[in-house]
């Protein structure tokens, strides 16, 4: 630990850590201790593959990440605002409860798994199984916004929250806006898509409608924050109609074992 605290620099309340080659356990321990000691502004440089960054942290803190963080970034966290200047890997925001993660590139698979509060903003594409098992309770409504395109199983088994898919900032013009099996097993929450999704990509539990005025207000507000995070044109994002995909039944398999 001694030699890694020499990689840390405190300046005007900002804690800057040159993370090159620091083992993830040591790095996470250092961040936790700093937060416990009252620090709440972090800049992590030269991150490459360190896992579990900010996992389980329940505190207000701002963490700027330069480099490619490892698996399960921000899992179980409640409070921190994390800004990633590059791509993120798999398992971002696993079961997170609150706070925000903004990713300036693409995100990997299983992002926002079982998420129950807070926001994840992904500027470009995301991988497979994003937003699966998301849930909401009263005013705890998790939101994931994807500026690019999504892989298969987007919002699978979703039980609450909002997924917003734009398809605008993708690196893959040849790919469809979402893969197969979108919303399969979904029984709560809503998926909003800028444009439309072909029917064969949808789980059979899904209905489709135009968003209500109230829902459009909600989208307007969520996307304003998204546009601001990445310096995008909010007007342009709102310029094309959205479709809402929702579960037709809150208990799609209620009768499955009933006969």
């Amino acid at each position: 630990m001694n030699d890694i605290s020499s990689r840390m620099e405190r300046k005007n309340g900002l804690v800057r850590i040159d993370s090159k080659g620091i083992y993830y356990k040591d790095l996470n321990k250092l961040i936790r201790e700093e937060i416990k000691g009252g620090s709440n502004l972090f800049e992590l440089t030269n991150i490459n593959g360190q896992r579990y960054l900010a996992d389980g942290i329940i505190a207000e803190a701002k963490i700027d990440v330069h480099g490619t963080p490892g698996q399960d970034l921000g899992a179980f966290m409640n409070g921190p605002i994390i800004n990633i200047h590059n791509n993120a890997q798999d398992g971002v925001g696993n079961t997170m409860s609150g706070g925000k993660i903004a990713i300036n590139g693409m995100a990997g698979d299983v992002c926002g798994y079982g998420m129950r509060g807070g926001k994840i903003h992904i500027k470009e594409d995301c991988g497979y199984r994003v937003g699966i098992h998301m849930k909401e309770y009263l005013d705890e409504v998790p939101v994931i916004i994807v500026g690019g395109k999504a892989g298969d199983f987007f919002g699978e088994y979703m039980a609450g929250g909002r997924l917003i898919l734009l398809g605008m900032f993708s690196k893959h013009p040849e790919r469809p806006i979402t893969g197969l099996f979108m919303g399969t097993g979904m029984h709560g929450g809503a998926i909003f898509v800028r444009g439309e999704v072909e029917k064969h990509r949808l789980g059979k539990e899904l209905g489709v409608s135009d968003p209500t005025d109230q829902e459009m207000d909600e989208l307007y507000y969520y996307l304003k924050g998204f546009a601001k995070d990445f310096g995008l044109d909010h007007k342009e994002i709102m310029a094309k109609p959205f479709k809402k995909y929702f579960p037709k039944s809150l208990r799609p398999y209620g009768n499955m074992y009933a006969y």
């Binding site: 490459n48 593959g49 990997g108 991988g127």
Partner: protein
């Protein structure tokens, strides 16, 4: 109340790690490069298996098969070398150079042989009749050693390539085998987290046959049917690990049946039937035919694999992407790995990084091979046009 907690709460939950790199111009790089990449994914494994495949490392013997053999004891070595003397012409043999390290415990005896089959009269007849090739004879000999000689195991048998593997973390295996001294134009690496098969020296990845090598993250749940299918063609699955079937399937489909890499991948990870209803009928018919002929070669279960031979490097995911795979390009290099960070460790600023689609292979062949294949395709098109 005694909850009797058996869990180790400090345990890292993980899966295997993969990394691969090719220079498409054939320029050779040191093994230390891929070692740094796989070491970045250290925590994807648990020290029960690490390994590497390297291509272009034996230019001075490139016409000969390079056999890497591990022996449990002197007796198996003696027995194997007697068999080699009978069935091969060995031009050169030596111990595989290793360095004593603290981290690698009780390695087997490790030898390499540069050889070609000593063809019997009967085999000569078969070759002349076009029934078998020298490669087939080599496969037969490798299978014979692995199946019948107790304590001996051929862990690579291709030309101008070699596998290096064992029980340990990959960076420690690399140090043990002194891989920084080897130069290759293709490298693959594996960090193992054994789940349902034992962690032993032979069970580390890569798995190889001739110059095919494969590293794999996941499980092949179709192992039973794949194994029985391969047995019909004389392949013996002896390594207690599901992954070896993939090496033999590639050898069968691509080398023996002459399928292209693309078509072979469509057999291993076929599109779903429901997807065939959405594409044009001519293509759907071809895909149905592949599925019907090669049904027993279909790989089920979660996987990300990298496979290589002297021509190139290919990455492939299962059809629903249950294991991670990321690819990148920079100049003449193509990279593939389980995690982007493993690529950035050795290529901080790639021209392009992407997550491949499930079931869609990333094929990075040497430029000269691609040019040759393209020319062959143009000739076929020209001939077809003339016939029509």
């Amino acid at each position: 109340m005694n909850l009797n907690r058996n869990h180790d709460y400090t345990k890292d939950i993980s899966g295997c790690g993969l990394s691969g790199v090719i220079n498409r111009k054939g320029e050779r790089i040191s093994g230390s490069v891929v070692t740094r990449s796989i070491a970045n994914q250290h925590d994807r494994g648990n020290g029960l298996g690490g390994g590497f495949a390297a291509y272009g490392i034996y230019p001075e013997y490139k016409e000969l098969y390079a056999l890497h053999i591990m022996y449990d004891h002197q007796r198996s070595k003696t027995e194997t070398e007697e068999f080699l003397k009978e069935s091969l012409v060995v031009s050169h043999q030596e111990e595989i150079r290793t360095r004593v390290t603290e981290k690698i415990q009780s390695p087997p005896i490790l030898m390499r042989y540069f050889a070609h089959p000593d063809v019997t009269d009967e085999e000569k007849g078969d070759i002349d009749a076009g029934n078998v090739t020298e490669d087939d004879l080599m496969v037969k000999r490798v299978m014979h050693i692995n199946e019948t000689i107790d304590g001996a195991f051929v862990f690579s048998s291709g030309k101008n390539m070699g596998a290096f593997k064992g029980v340990g973390f990959p960076e420690d295996i690399s140090e043990f085998f002194m891989l920084e001294d080897y130069k290759g134009h293709i490298w693959t690496a594996h960090n193992r987290f054994p789940t349902n098969s034992p962690g032993w020296w032979g069970g580390a990845h890569p798995f190889t046959i001739l110059d095919w090598s494969i590293v794999h993250n996941g499980e092949i749940s179709s192992y039973g049917i794949n194994k029985r299918y391969l047995e019909m063609f004389g392949y013996k699955c002896t390594l207690l690990t599901d992954t070896e079937v993939v090496a033999y399937l590639l050898d069968l489909l691509i080398r023996k049946h002459g399928l292209s890499y693309e078509v072979a991948c469509l057999a291993l990870a076929s599109p779903f039937w429901q997807e065939l209803e959405l594409i044009d009928e001519e293509e759907a018919e071809a895909l149905r035919a592949i599925r019907m002929i090669y049904g027993p070669a279909l790989l089920n279960g979660p996987f990300a694999i990298l496979f290589a031979n002297n021509e190139g490097l290919v990455g492939l995911n299962d059809r629903v992407k249950l294991r991670p795979l990321v690819a990148a390009e920079k100049g003449d290099f193509t990279y593939m790995a389980s995690e982007e960070s493993a690529i950035r460790e050795i290529c901080p600023d790639p021209d392009r990084v992407w997550a491949p689609i499930a079931g869609e292979p990333v094929i990075a062949l040497l430029d000269e091979v691609r040019e040759k294949n393209d020319a062959a395709e143009r000739n076929i098109e020209r001939d077809t046009a003339q016939i029509n």
